[in-house]
């Protein structure tokens, strides 16, 4: 049932992706109601699937991340009055659900009931922080693309379909500022969990997870600091967001490479 619901969500997200990309491939824009209906229906199936799942392990975490992304996409599109965020978010969510299904949706190892709540909270908050960071990255990427088109006086699909620069800048700022507390609590829970429960065989995994979690927290903190304290905005802030998110992804890949078989490491 869980897998079936995930597959339904995957199909609906894939359709949403196709609709989001269609105008950039020369097809006519989809009516807005339809462009929203597919991710909404996908998210509904996804929520039902996740409610039956223990939020521990790679598959469930990826699935949770995809759902957070889709929900943030829908919220931000309402804010931006346009469907440009789905240009990045829809394929990303589709890929994440696909990966979640492929990597298996069971927790992997049995977790004691006392630890499940702790872990679920840690995963939920960390994933929310990551999703907001991804949203900041998407807003920054859209900003840079729109900025480039506007500077180059090109008035094609990007100009027509992407939101105004200032709205994208505001979305980027909001995603960073909201993502930081969520990730901070998520990392603190991970540190606490590591100190209290980890040991023996699980220690390496926990260490890698901690290194990456702390690194992500530092990067997100830096991005928030330059925006809020140093008052960076516009193109410079967008570049900082993209650099931060890219660094987080690169460190993740590096840690995965040096920790093969670390199934529980997100």
């Amino acid at each position: 049932m869980i897998v079936t619901l995930h597959l339904v969500a995957l199909a609906l997200y894939a359709l949403a992706t196709a609709l989001a990309l269609a105008p950039f491939m020369g097809f006519r824009s989809t009516p807005r109601a339809l462009a929203i209906a597919f991710p909404c229906a996908g998210a509904a199936a996804h929520v039902v699937a996740l409610s039956q799942l223990t939020l521990v392990g790679l598959g469930p975490a990826l699935s949770m991340l995809a759902l957070c992304l889709v929900l943030l996409q829908l919220a931000s599109e309402r804010l931006l009055r346009g469907s440009a965020v789905s240009f990045f978010a829809a394929p990303l969510a589709t890929g994440l659900v696909g990966l979640a299904v492929l990597s298996g949706l069971s927790p992997g190892t049995e977790i004691a009931a006392s630890r499940t709540t702790w872990l679920a909270l840690h995963v939920a908050l960390s994933v929310l922080g990551l999703a907001l960071m991804a949203l900041a990255f998407i807003a920054a990427a859209l900003y840079l693309l729109q900025f480039r088109e506007l500077k180059a006086r090109r008035f094609g699909q990007v100009f027509q379909l992407f939101p105004p620069l200032e709205r994208l800048d505001r979305l980027n700022r909001f995603a960073l500022v909201a993502g930081f507390p969520a990730l901070t609590v998520g990392v603190l829970l991970a540190v606490g969990y590591g100190a209290r429960f980890s040991g023996g065989a699980g220690l390496h995994v926990a260490k890698a997870q901690l290194v990456w979690g702390l690194f992500t927290w530092v990067v997100l903190g830096w991005a928030v600091w330059v925006r809020v304290v140093r008052r960076w905005d516009g193109r410079r802030a967008a570049l900082a967001s993209i650099a931060g998110f890219s660094a987080v992804l690169l460190v993740y890949v590096a840690l995965k490479l040096v920790q093969p078989g670390a199934a529980r490491f997100l």
């Binding site: 506007l150 105004p164 620069l165 193109r235």
Partner: protein, 421 residues
């Protein structure tokens, strides 16, 4: 004599070239005087941001046309090997008439169906009235009628698509909601007023700058709830405004790096949208090198506006039909223009010939009674009328069909008549 149009437009020349060819109203009489001195019998100069076109009545000899190309070529700093004509085109007779009708209808505009061109055609006609001559006078009068017909009988002008509305759209892509933004409008002409109104409708606070027409600037600013300032006061505003819209009639750049470069640096990265609707351009293109400055000229804005005209394209066939109908009517009129005087001249010549021959014959027939002399005279009159009846009918019919011009030429050659002045 024939009708010709030669010039450049937005399809054949880039803005950098068109702005050099643009003629202010005060330059029109001088330019036309040169072309008329070279042999044209009438001329109208239509100069807008999209085109500079000379409409001439001239024969097929080259001097007036060469004069136009050299007149335009003199305005180029770095002329290509072929001179100004490398950017230009030329249309003759019926095609020239059709061209002006299409221009007036907005079919040849960068923004399909835009209505501003009709006022510009009227202004060109007014400015050239003393040098236009009867044929171009009629041509421009009918061109305005064609423009009106197309706009009332088709939906070619539906919706809002203008450089001014595009200016609002572009500014919206930078700032999102424009309410509460601050715009500085340089210029107090029709375009500046239209753009200021569009921005004001979006809740933008307007400050108007005018150098020459302070009174008008104050009146517009008052109507839009803004204020008017002098040009000297304007530069400091570049540190705080969000949008600068320039539409002055200055012959050179007004907003230069020297004037606003250091002021813009004080913005600390806040975006500034600069919209240059003037031709020649008001804003030094170097300003766009500043990272937070987004500069758009009239071609950019017309490109944006043209995207809003997709539905208008469906109306093009109906508009073209009107243009074709009116071209036929004008050409019929033009073809018939020389028929009446030519027929009169032909009849007069024939009458002289008849009278001379009759006199000679009657001298030899001196024995004839007065009644017989009257009969002979009546016979000669009747014979001449019979001979002239068919050619006169054919000429009039050809003129009505718009083919009279060629037939007249043939007639004049056959009967050795002088061409009309």
């Amino acid at each position: 004599m024939g009708i010709k149009v030669l010039g450049v437009n937005h399809r054949t020349a880039p803005l950098e070239v068109r702005e050099r060819f643009a003629h202010g109203a005060h330059e029109v009489p001088g330019a036309l005087a040169r072309v008329l001195a070279a042999g044209a019998s009438g001329g109208v100069l239509l100069s807008t941001c999209n085109r500079t076109e000379f409409y001439l009545v001239t024969d097929d000899e080259l001097p007036p046309l060469d004069t136009v190309w050299s007149l335009l070529g003199e305005r180029l700093t770095a002329a290509p090997s072929g001179g100004a004509r490398e950017y230009g085109y030329i249309e003759h007779d019926r095609d020239a008439v059709r061209h002006l009708y299409r221009v007036s209808a907005g079919l040849d505009s960068m923004i399909l169906g835009e209505s501003q061109i009709q006022g510009q055609v009227r202004d060109a006609w007014e400015a050239s009235r003393a040098q236009a001559g009867p044929v171009l006078h009629r041509l421009f009068q009918t061109a305005l009628h064609v423009g009106s017909r197309v706009r009332t009988e088709t939906e070619l002008g539906m919706g809002t698509a203008s450089a001014a509305s595009a200016a609002t759209q572009v500014a919206g892509k930078i700032f999102g909601d424009l309410a509460g933004r601050h715009a500085l409008i340089l210029g107090a002409g029709d375009m500046a007023e239209l753009a200021a109104t569009c921005l004001s409708d979006q809740g933008v606070q307007i400050t108007l700058v005018a150098n020459r027409t302070q009174e008008r600037a104050r009146a517009i600013a008052e109507r839009l709830g803004g204020r008017a300032v002098s040009l000297e006061e304007a530069w400091a505003y570049f540190a705080t405004i969000d949008i600068a819209l320039c539409s002055t009639a200055a012959p050179h750049a007004v907003v230069t790096w020297e004037r606003v470069g250091s002021v813009i640096a004080r913005r600390r990265g806040r975006p500034l949208c600069v919209l240059d609707l003037a031709v020649p351009r008001d804003v030094d293109p170097a300003i766009a090198q500043i990272e937070n400055v987004f500069l758009y000229d009239v071609d950019d804005l017309q490109t944006v506006a043209a995207q809003a005209t997709a539905r208008r394209r469906d109306e093009v066939p109906a508009a073209e039909r009107i243009v074709e109908e009116e071209t036929d009517l004008f050409w019929a009129w033009y073809g018939g223009l020389g028929v009446v005087p030519t027929i009169k001249e032909l009849r007069s010549r024939m009458e002289q010939l008849r009278a001379a021959e009759l006199e000679r014959a009657l001298r030899q027939l001196s024995a004839l009674s007065p009644e017989d002399r009257a009969r002979v005279e009546q016979f000669s009159q009747s014979l001449m009328n019979k001979f002239l009846h068919q050619p006169t009918l054919a000429l009039k019919a050809a003129a009505e069909e718009g083919h009279g011009y060629g037939l007249l030429e043939a007639l004049r050659r056959l009967f050795g008549m002088e061409p009309p002045a």
